[in-house]
Symmetry: C2
Subunit: 149 residues, 2 copies
Amino acid sequence: MADPLADRLGYLLKHAQQSFAEAGAHALAPLGITGRQLAVLAVLGDAEPLSQLAAAGRLGVDRTTMVQLVDELEDKGLVERRRSPEDRRKNIVELTPLGQDTLRRGNEIHQASEERFLADLTPVETELFIRILRRLNGIDDEPAEPVSP
Amino acid sequence: MADPLADRLGYLLKHAQQSFAEAGAHALAPLGITGRQLAVLAVLGDAEPLSQLAAAGRLGVDRTTMVQLVDELEDKGLVERRRSPEDRRKNIVELTPLGQDTLRRGNEIHQASEERFLADLTPVETELFIRILRRLNGIDDEPAEPVSP
DNA sequence: TATTGTTATACTCTATAACTATA
DNA sequence: TATAGTTATAGAGTATAACAATA
């Protein structure tokens, strides 16, 4: 292999991430959102409503970036800000019905895109690959399911 | 797992890449170069001398970006441009002795950084992980070594 | 005083367009 | 005319600093 970069972990990770992101962006284009915006919707639509700062923490961005992310989604009519009654410094950000629908459809598209990206792998390879990535990200795997008696 | 991003391939790839890049940047800091600059040195120092455009192709950047990358390395005294005698439009970029030494030491640091990053994996997992990444990047694995007779 | 959201600003990375010189 | 390198410029993406409202 003549390419001196081909074995570099950083190169492999970066380009895998880039080509997956490009494929995802292309797949999501009909919905009018980016992969990043889908991730924001996923965080905001996950469980109980979040403040901007709380959502920023989940996404790993700072609060000024979060302002812009929420701006974009609000401009598209996908989320709404409202002042928290308990702490009027906070904006609670909630998905609109359109946002919820977009999240649902985006998730389906993302899932299909992920499957296409991993299509060349065997099921065993796919599972191991995801598990390793989780481990490298410091996400503990759930304990092995208890063997049914 | 409450985190709605934790299972997303894009999130896992992006954050794995980022934390590895950060670790690498930290490890390379004593050499005074970034991971990106080490990659450029690796391409330029690999085999026969390359023009800027040829190197840009290997790195997957465009020629204007390559100008800046070479500028940075030239400012540090790690590479030198010279006009190609065969085609005076081309700059042949070669590593200086300092550049060669920096590449060698950078490779050692990079290798150690990679090993630390993957330290939690078993050797089998490590090999499979790299192989899968190569496959996802469209890099053909060399054919299985012929079984010794 | 500290926290949340916001704005203005700047910095990095990268690409596009236009220019120079060479072919 | 086309190609290689360069420059100026612009566009994402992100962060820092300062400010207003609220605690």
